[in-house]
Structures are given as structure tokens and as C-alpha cells.
Symmetry: C2
Subunit: 367 residues, 2 copies
Amino acid sequence: MIFRYYLPTRLFFGWDALKREGGYLKSLGSRLLVVMGPRSARECGLWDDLQNLGRRYGIEWIIYDRVRANPDLAAVKEGLEVAKEEKVEGVLGAGGGSPLDVAKAIALLANNSVPPENLYEGDFPNPPLPLGAIPTTAGTGSEVTPYAVFSLHHLKTKRGFAHEGCFPRVAWVDPRYTLTLSRELTIDTALDALSHAVEGYLSRRASPYSDILAREALRLWGKRREQLLEGDYTPEFRQDLLWASTLAGMVIAHTRTTVLHTLGHYLTYHKGTPHGRANGYFLAAYLEFVRPAVEARVGEILAALRLRDLLELRDFIRELLPPPPMVEQGEREKWARMALTHTHALELTARLPQYRDLLNILESSLS
Amino acid sequence: MIFRYYLPTRLFFGWDALKREGGYLKSLGSRLLVVMGPRSARECGLWDDLQNLGRRYGIEWIIYDRVRANPDLAAVKEGLEVAKEEKVEGVLGAGGGSPLDVAKAIALLANNSVPPENLYEGDFPNPPLPLGAIPTTAGTGSEVTPYAVFSLHHLKTKRGFAHEGCFPRVAWVDPRYTLTLSRELTIDTALDALSHAVEGYLSRRASPYSDILAREALRLWGKRREQLLEGDYTPEFRQDLLWASTLAGMVIAHTRTTVLHTLGHYLTYHKGTPHGRANGYFLAAYLEFVRPAVEARVGEILAALRLRDLLELRDFIRELLPPPPMVEQGEREKWARMALTHTHALELTARLPQYRDLLNILESSLS
């Protein structure tokens, strides 16, 4: 057995990380496309900081700020056109997972003659444009992964895209930009980070390296679990959750995700359930299913989360989240069948699920 | 407070890492300088493997195999001349810390018009030649750091050189190549890894990231401590110690080393004491000195090493090593004065030592 480690992103983590190390923006170029959502990067103060740093370091910002949650390839296409028209030298993703992922695809496609609709099948002889990332949620981990996830309408779900060149060259990870997140968004994104740590720790590609990081992410999450429920979001809470999220991103950069994410994507695509929340609904049943194959590790996860058993996890998540959306039996069956075709995620899952297992997870989680 | 993470090396760790992932040798070029010592890379089977892989992947090897322990800049100069004459496309360091460090300097200087004797003062506008590393000892960690250490005769000591470009692009870390290490070399190099983990964990530049790795390195070292003394070197022992060494290298890649290394370098330069062993002699007294500033962390280190107290650590190291070399009082005083000028290492030390403190460490360790 050998394992790999590869994480070329230069990371600055902590309070005022961007303001203190804004000079590294210049390493992306002096004419940069900033990819944002319509609001979050502005509301949390990040856009103001970028404008100030742009003046200080002579960086011209070209704005593409129309990225919505669960972006599709049309968003990539639109942003790519801006990047090409404006001849930008680099791309900065600033926001939640969606702007970060769109920024990755734009940077890659801007340097390769592959149309956005062929992103998943394309050959990419050239490296992407220099790429930076600044997360404003504590969940995605995208700032330290080579992945981007898009809604694919022909498949009627979201699916992850991976390309080594899509590791951001630089990531500034500052808890300040997460201070103003609503309780709802804090919880939803925290569950995304949690599912990364859990899935990575139980992945068949887990390694001695990813394990160290996963354990620390789980420990931090466990330390802040009660506070997450109570809504008592201190700066220390923000910092720990953001670091847990970045660590969990480093984990899946090495392990990828598993069938929990596959199921979550259906709920997000078809019912509009926020990504992390969708994973949260399935988490307890997923752990119940894989437990026979990874009993000791599931025990370690529960201990790190300061939970007695899976029942307590299920109760905790029920208390944390609104009730799941209605999903009819026929639709659940369809999703279980679809998930069976997602062989890559199945193979990395600690226990190989059959149709019946997938349906069980869906049924017990959504009722 | 912010912290940085940056470790762009692509790492393959485990049994047959090189044989399985030898294709990545091609990413360094097809005409490569391999930097080795006169014996170790041959005796452990690494050179055979490289020749086979060279045939398979069409790589031509140019050999520079005259690197001795504690290399000076003359070795760099000699290897550099071979690299230039032979117009190599990349450089591979294969062996203990010395060949790895020489390979780094050669790769950097081959692409920049700085003479070897000006390595420490040079400007390096160009990145080094593509650089790979294959360690054959479990101690240096050089395969995942941007550092190289050389004997500097005008300073009468060894001193570390750092350049971000000197992170190896690829590192193959295979415990197989450490299977044949003698007991003496195993112990000496293991103490190097230990001092990296300890110094990194107590460094003023320690970060939440380096801490995770340092704790794991210390845990693995502690798990194998008794076995190290007993000489019972199983494959599992080799694997754990090598992984601890690589982790500890990742730690100092972020924290650098501290005054313990400074003192160790004097003993190595002036008395020929192997590097790791030299650090080992000073370890207990160093911990005794810094303890008032980092009481809890010193306790964690002892717990990870499965030791009751510093006295037990001192006894353990006395049992592990031959008696230290004779160093006369006047020489100790000179070293203590010299160490005071090494401000960078002093500043990173958890407690700032005065002349008297340094002399105390030297006296209590060398008697």
C-alpha cells in the first residue's frame, strides 16, 4: 500500500489573513476576474477589502458576480466570456463554494479550448489561469481542493469535477468573513464540513495523512457542536469551524467524497435543499449503514463529536435542521437506482451499498 | 495571528512507492542528474531500482555520487559542474540528508548565475531545475522541506539555507530503502526526526497545522522508542519511523528549527558527531531550559514519547548513544557565544536563551 500527498495551495489562515498577505494577490496577475455571488462577498466586507488591496497593489478588478447557489455550466460559460473579453490574467473566487467552484472552471477553460459544456470530458493540455480563493463560509473546503461541483441538467443532479490544476494557487482563509453568516447558513455549511471529515475518515482512500487532518477536523467540530445548535457564534467559534472546514477540505482533496455526497446531490438538485444540509439529513443513516465495515472508526467519530451513539447524532441533527423535504417513494427509488450508477463514489464508500441499502438510507432519513 | 501552510511537494509514501510511481520521474526530465553518496543508495537497492526505471521510462542518468556526510559548498560546486557539463534537465537527490541537500543547491544554482560560494547571499530570479528526492534514512525530512544544510568553513559550523523553490517537486518515500540501515545510523537519524518534531512543536512559529503533524510524529516515535533501543527493527518499525521523519520534515518546513539545531551543528562540525546524534545529546537539557515557557507542551511531548519526565528522557538517550565527545570548557564557551549570534534560531526558541543558559545546556549535556 502506498499513499499520496499533494496539496500545492499556499494557504494563509487567520484573522486579517487577506489584509496582511494581500501582496500575494499580485502573484495572480494585475488584471483579475473576481468571481462572486450577488451579495455575500459584499456583505461580509470582503469586496471592500479587495478594492482597497487592488488600489494598494495596482490590481484591476473585473467583476463577475452572478454566481448563484448550485451553479450550472451556463454560469461558467457566462463568467468565461467575461474573462476572455476582458483578457484577465488570473481568477479569484470569493464567496461560498459556488463562486469558488465557478472560478476554478473559468480559470481552467480560459486557457484551454474546451467549451464549458464539455468540461467533464475535456482534455486540458494547458494549466489554468492563476487562481486564488477566499471562502466566506465554513463548509466548502473548496479553497484547498482540486474539485468543482456543478448542476448537470442532462443528468438531473450535481456532480463533482476534478482537475489537479484546479487547486487554488493561493487561498486566504479569514474567519472575519464568516462573522456575519446567518444561523441557517452557518449550520448548513458546517454540516458540509462535517460530511467531508466523516466521509474522508471512512473513505477507502483514507491515508495516514488524511486521517490526521480528519481527526482534528472532527475534534474541532465536536468541540463546537453544542454552540452550533445554541446559535452562540463567538469569534473563537467562527475560527474553529473555519479551520475545521479547511482541514476537511484537505482531507477530501486526498480521499474524495463518497455515496453520502451522491445522495445529498439529488436532494439539492431536485428539492433545492442546501448542499450541506442535504448531507446532514443522510449522515446518521449513512454511518449506520457503513458501521459493520468500519466499527472502530465510526466509534472514533462519535467520540470526537462528543456523542454517545448514532441515535444521539440523529436526534442532534433533527434538532439542528428543519424537517427534510417530502420525497415520494417513487422518487426515492429512482435516486437509489441512479446512485448505483455512480460507481466511483460507491467504490470509495467503506461498505459497498446495494440498491436496497441506498433505499434504506433514503427512507430512514427522509421520513 | 495568521499562519501559513505551503508544501507543494508531491509525495508518494509506502512500500514500493518508487516502483509504483516511477512514472513521475519523467516529470523531472529525461536526462537527470542523480546525486548520491558513494554507497548508501547502492547498498539499499535504490540505485538498481532507478536504473530499471530509467530503462522503462527512457531516462538517462548522469551520476554524481561523491556526496559525503556534512557536505560543504565544494561538493555543491563539483556536482553543479557535472550538471552543467552534462546539460541535465532535472536533479534527483537519493540518499540521506546530505545528497538531498546537495541536490537542492545544484538544482537551484544550475538555473541561476550565482556561484556556489555565494549560495547564502544570492538572488535567484529563476526557479531551480525540476527536483526530486528519495530518502534512504528516516531522519532528515529534507524530502519535504525547502532547506539544505551545509558545512561553512568560514563560519566554522553548519548552517541551513532556505529557498521556497527547493521544495522537491516529487518525493518517493519508501521504507524499503531503510531496511538495511545499521543500528547506529538508525538511531542517529531517528534522533534527527525527533528533534525536528520537538523543536517544531515548541517553536514560536508552531501553528495549528504544524502542531497536528508534530503530535503524530511524536506519537509514532514514542510508539517505537523501546524498539529503537532494543534494535528490533521490523518492517513496521521502519515504516512508522520513516513516516514520523517525513511528518517532522513537514513540521519544520513550516516552523524552521531552533537553537537545539544550532548547538548540534557545532558538535557535528568540530567533533564529527553525526547530526541527529548531536541533537540527541542536547535534547533533555534543551527541554529543561525551555520548559518554564512551554510547560504544558513539554508535558505533551513526554507523554507522547511514553516517558515519565525529563530525567527518564536523559537516561534513555544515555542508554541509546555512546558517550558524547570531549569538549573543553573554552570551546563550550566559544560555542555559547557563537550561538548568541544566530538570532534567527534564538528568536524561534520558546524561551530566549542568554549566554549562561546556552553554556548550561552545553555543560550539562556534554559531561
